[in-house]
C-alpha cells in the first residue's frame, strides 16, 4: 500500500509554507478546545490594532461528535490547521491557493470554489463572513474574515484559514475511513505507515464512552459553576478598589480565559451526556458568552497613554 501524503507531511508542509509567509508557527493550546479559533493566540490577538500572523495545528474536541471509533467520518477529536493573518492581506486568496501546493494539490487540476458560508460562535461572541472552500465538491477549508470577537467590533480585520486536514488527507489518498489515514511513514511499522487507527482508535472509543455514558453530571455542573466564578473573580481584579491599597491589581486575563475554555469544554461534555434541557443549554451558552465578552473588553482597555492596561 502506498499513499500520496501522510497527516504529518501535511502538517509539516503547511507549517513550512506559512512560516515562509512570516507566520509565527505556534503550538496547539494545552487545554481542551472545540476549535482552533478558541486558542488565545486567535481570540486575543484578533482584538486591538496590532498586526499578527500565526499558524498552528489545534486538536479540537467535540464530545457530541464521538462515535466510539465506529463512524468513518465523525470523531471526538480531530485536527484543525489554523492560520490567522491580521490585517487580512489583499492577496489572501492567492496565498491560500498557493498553500495547497504544500500538500501536493495543484489547483490547475482541481475545481476549487469559494462558497458562501458565514461563521458564528455563540460562546465566543464572535462572527465572521466568508466561505467554505471546496475542492472537487469536497469541503476542505473554512475561510473567514472575522468581524466581531468577544462582542468587540474588530479593526483591523483578521482573516482565518482553517484546513480540515483529516478530510483532505482522506480525499487525497482516496481513503473512505478516517482511521485508515496514514499518519507517518515508518519502515519499522507493518505496512510502512503508522495509521490514524493506531494512534487514535482507543482514545476515540474511550472518550466517546466517557462523554456519553460515564461523565459525572453533577460534578461537571459544579466544575462549570466554579470555572465561571473563578473567571469572573480574575476579571474583577482591578475594578473594585480595595480599601487601604494603593496599587490596583490588573485582571489576570490569561488564567481567566483558561477558565472560560474549561467551562466551554465542561458544557460540551454535559451536552453530549444529554444532561441539558433546551433552556438550560441556552442559558449556559449565554454564561460562557458573557465571560468571553468580559475577557475581550478587558483586553482592549487602554490607559491614558494608549498602553494596554493588561500588558
Amino acid at each position: 500500500m502506498s499513499y500520496k501524503i501522510t497527516m504529518q507531511e501535511m502538517i509539516l508542509g503547511l507549517s513550512r509554507f506559512w512560516s515562509e509567509q512570516g507566520c509565527v508557527i505556534h503550538q496547539p493550546y494545552d487545554l481542551e478546545v472545540g476549535a482552533g479559533t478558541m486558542h488565545p493566540e486567535t481570540f486575543f490577538r484578533s482584538l486591538g490594532p496590532e498586526p499578527f500572523r500565526v499558524g498552528y495545528c489545534q486538536p479540537s474536541r467535540r464530545p457530541a461528535d464521538g462515535r466510539y471509533a465506529d463512524n468513518p467520518m465523525r470523531v471526538y477529536k480531530h485536527f484543525q490547521y489554523q492560520v490567522i493573518l491580521k490585517p487580512s492581506p489583499a492577496d489572501v486568496q492567492e496565498l491560500y491557493l498557493k498553500s495547497l501546493h504544500s500538500f501536493g494539490i495543484d489547483p490547475q487540476l482541481h475545481d476549487i470554489r469559494f462558497e458562501e458560508d458565514n461563521w458564528e460562535s455563540p460562546t465566543l461572541g464572535a462572527a465572521g463572513v466568508g466561505w467554505q472552500v471546496t475542492m472537487d465538491g469536497m469541503e476542505i477549508s473554512q475561510f473567514t474574515y472575522f468581524q466581531v470577537m468577544g462582542g468587540v467590533e474588530l479593526h483591523p480585520i483578521p482573516v482565518e484559514l482553517t484546513y480540515g486536514i483529516e478530510r483532505i488527507c482522506m480525499f487525497t489518498n482516496d481513503i473512505r475511513n478516517i482511521f485508515d489515514i496514514p499518519w507517518a511513514r515508518a519502515d519499522w511499522y507493518e505496512g510502512g505507515f503508522v495509521p490514524y487507527r493506531t494512534l487514535r482508535e482507543r482514545a476515540e472509543r474511550e472518550q466517546s464512552a466517557y462523554s456519553f455514558e460515564e461523565a459525572a453530571v453533577a460534578q461537571h455542573r459544579e466544575a462549570f459553576d466554579f470555572a465561571e466564578a473563578e473567571a469572573n473573580r480574575l476579571l474583577d481584579r482591578g475594578i473594585a478598589k480595595e480599601e487601604g491599597r494603593e496599587a490596583r491589581p490588573a485582571p489576570l486575563l490569561i488564567p481567566a480565559y483558561e477558565r472560560v475554555l474549561e467551562a466551554s469544554h465542561l458544557f460540551n461534555v454535559l451536552d453530549a451526556r444529554g444532561a441539558l434541557s433546551v433552556t438550560e443549554r441556552q442559558g449556559m451558552i449565554q454564561r460562557i458568552r458573557r465571560l468571553s465578552v468580559r475577557c475581550a473588553r478587558r483586553w482592549i482597555e487602554r490607559d491614558e497613554t494608549g498602553q494596554e492596561k493588561s500588558s
Binding site: 487540476l109 474588530l154 480585520i157
Partner: protein, 705 residues
C-alpha cells in the same frame, strides 16, 4: 454628440450567488442615476455578473458634456441694483456664490420680469469627470443582505473589492473604490488563466473575458451550463432531472459553464427511496440526478468551474464525496427504520415547538384532536377519522430521525417513507408524506383529502398559537413563518370547504393546558379578529395573484362578515368577475351604492329602514313593479345561493336594472308622507339585502362615480 460604450466592472472576491442579480441591478441604478444627474444621454444598461464580478455596460453613452454657456438666475433686478445702478448686498452674495464679481452680473429679461443673472462659461467635461465626484459614495451605498469589512479599511461591501474596470470606449475613467483605482485590467478565470487581461475597449470586454474562460452574461452562462449538464447526463446514457432552481444557482457559482458526470454504486439506487437519493445529491453537492425511462440511475451531473478534467481528479472527487454522502443517507435510512414511528413520536416530548407553546408532543396531541374535529364537521366516516388520528399522532415523529436531522427539507416526506416501509396503511403514509404541502403559494396541495385536513389542522394550530403569543408578522419580520402558514391554511380550507372562522376558534380551544400545551382559551377576542384579518389578507393576496381587482376582493370580503369560507368566497369572486363586463350589472352596482347612501342618510335622520316595511302603502306603478320583481328575484336568488349558483344569482340581479332605473326616474323616495316614505325605504332596504346577498355590490368601483 459623441457617444461611446460605458463599462463599469467591480471585481470582488467570490460573491454569494444569491446576491449577484440584485447587486448588479443596484449598480446599474446607481450608474444610470449618476448619468442622468450629469444630463448625459445614454442607452439601456446591460447587466453582467459572475461570482467574481458585477458589471454594467451602458451603450451609446454621451462621452462628453461640450463647452457651453450657462445662465443662472439670481435676485430680481430691483433687488440687485439700487437706484444708482450699484449692486446691492444681495447681488454681491449671489455673485460670490457663483465665483463671480457683482459687476459680472447681467440683467436678463424673463416672463416674470428682469432678473440679475450670472452667465458662466462651462468648460467641456468628460463622462469620467462627471461621474467621479459621486461614484464611490453611490456604490458604497448599495445595500446587500450581508456586508463585511476587510484589511485595515473601515468601509464595508459584499466582499473585498479587488479591481475596478471603468472604460468609456477605450478611455479609462478617473474613478476609484475602496482605495482601488480604475484601470483597464480585469482578472480572468482564477485557475485557468490567472492573469490580468487588459481590456482594449468597453465593447470588447465580454469577448476578451470569454477567451479567458469567463462567460459574464448570466443568461448565456445558464443556457450553456444547461446544455453541458444535459450532455453530461447523456454520457451516462440517461436524461437530466430538470431543476430550474438548482440550475440558476449553479450557473451563478461558476464562471465557465462546464459540467461533469459521475457515478456511484448501484446499491444506493436499489435501497434508497428516490426522494432521499435526489435530495442527498442536491442538498450537499448541488448535483442533478439522472434518469432513464422513469427510473433513477446510479449517476449524477454537476456544474464545475473547470472545462477540462484531464486526469479525472474532479470527477473522482465528486464521486468520492457523493458516495460518502449517499453512504450517510443510507446509514440513516437503515437506522431510522429500526425504530417504529410510534416510538419516535414518544421522543417528541423533548423537542420544542416554540418556547411559549411547548413541545411537539403537545402540538401533536392538539393537531390530532383538531383534525378529528374538522374531519367530523366534513362528515368523514369513522374509518377515515381513525386514519386521520393515526396520521396526526405520527406526523411529526420524523423530526427526531437521522434523515430529517441531515436533510431538513425531507420533513414530512421522510415520515411518509418510513411509515410506508413500516407497513402502515396507505391512507396514513400519504397523509404524513404531505404534511408540509403546500410549501409555497405555487406548491401543490396534499394529494388526498385526509392529507389536506391534517395539513390544515397543523397550520391552524401554528397560526393560533403563534399569534396568541405575539408572533404576528410585521414588515420583513416573520420569525415563525406565519405568512406561509396563513397562505397554506387559506388554500387548504378552500379545498376542504371549511369555514376558517369557526375552525380558528376550535383550534384555539385546543390549547387547553396540561398535555395540550399552554392554556390559551382565554385569549382576547381581538387577537382572534387580528388573525382573521391576517388570513383575509392572505386570501386577498392569493386572489390578486390570480388577477382579481381590489374592489372585487373587497366586495367578497364584505360577505366574510358572516362566515369565512375561502372556497366559497373564491367562487363568489369568480362569479362576480364574470359580470364585470356587463353594462346592466355595472349600472346596478351604481344603483346599489346610491341605495346604500340613501338608507344611511335616512337612518341618520331617524327613519326606520326594515326591508318590506309598510309595503301596503306602495301605490305608484314603478314601485309596485319593483316590489314584485324584488320579491321574485329574492326567491330565486335564495335558491341559487343555496345551490352555490352565484353566477345565476348575479344574473338575476343584473336583470333588475330596468325596473330599478324606472323606480329612480319616476319615484321620489323621501316623500313628506311618513307612511309612504317608510314604505319606499323598506323597498330599498329589500333591494339592499339582495345587493349584498352574494357579494357586496356597493364595494365595486364603477366608473363615473
Amino acid at each position: 454628440m459623441k457617444t461611446k460604450d460605458l463599462l463599469i466592472e467591480i471585481g470582488c472576491e467570490e460573491i454569494p450567488a444569491r446576491m449577484l442579480p440584485g447587486a448588479t441591478a443596484a449598480l446599474a441604478r446607481v450608474l444610470l442615476s449618476l448619468l442622468d444627474k450629469a444630463k448625459l444621454a445614454h442607452g439601456d444598461a446591460q447587466l453582467f455578473w459572475s461570482s467574481r464580478r458585477l458589471a454594467v455596460l451602458v451603450p451609446e453613452t454621451q462621452s462628453e458634456m461640450p463647452p457651453r454657456e450657462e445662465t443662472l438666475m439670481g435676485p430680481p433686478a430691483r433687488a440687485a441694483w439700487d437706484g444708482d445702478g450699484n449692486p446691492t448686498r444681495a447681488a454681491e452674495g449671489f455673485a460670490r456664490k457663483q465665483g463671480l464679481e457683482a459687476a459680472d452680473l447681467k440683467p436678463v429679461e424673463t416672463d416674470r420680469g428682469v432678473y440679475a443673472a450670472a452667465v458662466i462659461q462651462r468648460e467641456a467635461l468628460g463622462v469620467g469627470d462627471l461621474l467621479a465626484p459621486g461614484f464611490e459614495k453611490a456604490v458604497r451605498g448599495i445595500s446587500f443582505p450581508k456586508t463585511m469589512r476587510w484589511g485595515v479599511g473601515l468601509g464595508s461591501f459584499v466582499r473585498p473589492v479587488q479591481w475596478l474596470l471603468a472604460l468609456s470606449g477605450e478611455e479609462i475613467l478617473p474613478l476609484s473604490l475602496f482605495g482601488v483605482r480604475a484601470g483597464r485590467q480585469t482578472w480572468a478565470h482564477r485557475t485557468l488563466s490567472d492573469h490580468a487581461v487588459s481590456i482594449r475597449a468597453a465593447g470588447s470586454w465580454e469577448s476578451q473575458l470569454a477567451e479567458a474562460y469567463v462567460v459574464a452574461d448570466p443568461a448565456k452562462r445558464r443556457e450553456r451550463l444547461h446544455a453541458a449538464l444535459r450532455t453530461a447526463a447523456k454520457d451516462q446514457a440517461g436524461v437530466l432531472n430538470e431543476d430550474e432552481g438548482l440550475l440558476a444557482e449553479s450557473a451563478d457559482m461558476v464562471e465557465v459553464p462546464a459540467a461533469i458526470a459521475g457515478s456511484f454504486e448501484q446499491k444506493f439506487v436499489d435501497e434508497l427511496p428516490e426522494e432521499i437519493l435526489k435530495t442527498c445529491l442536491k442538498h450537499h453537492q448541488k448535483a442533478f440526478s439522472i434518469h432513464r425511462e422513469g427510473k433513477v440511475l446510479s449517476a449524477f451531473a454537476v456544474a464545475v468551474n473547470m472545462p477540462e478534467d484531464p486526469e479525472g481528479h474532479i470527477r473522482r472527487g465528486h464521486e468520492w464525496v457523493n458516495s460518502g454522502r449517499l453512504e450517510d443517507a443510507l446509514f440513516f435510512w437503515r437506522e431510522d427504520r429500526k425504530h417504529a414511528l410510534v416510538k419516535r413520536a414518544a421522543q417528541l416530548e423533548g423537542v420544542l415547538f416554540q418556547r411559549e407553546l411547548g413541545t411537539y408532543s403537545s402540538k401533536s396531541r392538539r393537531v390530532r384532536r383538531l383534525s378529528q374535529q374538522l374531519g367530523s364537521r366534513m362528515g368523514l366516516d369513522d374509518a377515515q377519522i381513525a386514519a386521520l388520528a393515526h396520521s396526526a399522532a405520527l406526523a411529526r415523529a420524523d423530526l427526531v430521525t437521522g434523515l430529517v436531522g441531515e436533510f431538513p427539507e425531507l420533513q414530512g416526506i421522510a415520515g411518509g417513507l418510513l411509515a410506508r416501509a413500516e407497513g402502515l396503511p396507505e391512507a396514513v403514509t400519504t397523509t404524513i408524506y404531505d404534511l408540509y404541502r403546500p410549501a409555497s403559494a405555487e406548491d401543490a396541495l396534499p394529494e388526498t383529502l385526509l392529507g389536506r385536513i391534517l395539513a390544515l389542522a397543523d397550520r391552524l394550530d401554528t397560526l393560533v398559537g403563534g399569534i396568541a403569543v405575539g408572533l404576528m408578522p410585521s414588515g420583513s419580520k416573520d420569525p415563525f413563518a406565519l405568512r406561509r402558514a396563513g397562505l397554506g391554511a387559506v388554500r387548504l380550507a378552500a379545498s376542504c370547504e371549511l369555514d376558517l372562522r369557526s375552525s380558528v376558534e376550535i383550534a384555539l380551544q385546543g390549547y387547553s393546558g396540561g398535555d395540550f400545551g399552554p392554556d390559551l382559551r382565554g385569549t382576547a377576542t381581538g387577537t382572534l379578529q387580528a388573525l382573521e384579518e391576517f388570513l383575509l389578507e392572505r386570501f386577498s393576496a392569493l386572489e390578486e395573484k390570480q388577477g382579481a381587482h381590489y374592489d372585487e376582493i373587497n366586495a367578497v370580503r364584505a360577505v366574510a362578515r358572516t362566515s369565512f369560507e375561502p372556497g366559497d368566497l373564491s367562487r363568489r369572486l369568480s362569479a362576480l368577475r364574470g359580470f364585470r363586463g356587463s353594462e346592466d350589472f355595472l349600472a346596478l352596482a351604481g344603483a346599489a351604492k346610491r341605495v346604500r347612501n340613501i338608507l344611511l342618510q335616512a337612518k341618520g335622520r331617524g327613519d326606520v329602514t326594515v326591508p318590506g316595511q309598510n309595503a301596503e302603502f306602495l301605490g305608484a306603478e314603478a314601485e309596485k313593479e319593483l316590489a314584485a320583481d324584488l320579491f321574485e328575484a329574492g326567491q330565486y336568488m335564495a335558491q341559487d345561493r343555496e345551490r352555490g349558483a352565484y353566477g345565476a344569482a348575479l344574473g338575476r340581479l343584473a336583470g333588475l336594472r330596468t325596473v330599478v332605473d324606472r323606480f329612480f326616474d319616476e319615484v321620489l323616495v323621501m316623500d313628506p308622507d311618513d307612511s309612504l316614505r317608510q314604505a319606499r325605504l323598506g323597498l330599498l332596504a329589500s333591494f339592499d339585502l339582495l345587493a349584498h346577498e352574494i357579494v357586496d355590490l356597493s364595494e365595486l368601483v364603477v366608473e363615473g362615480q
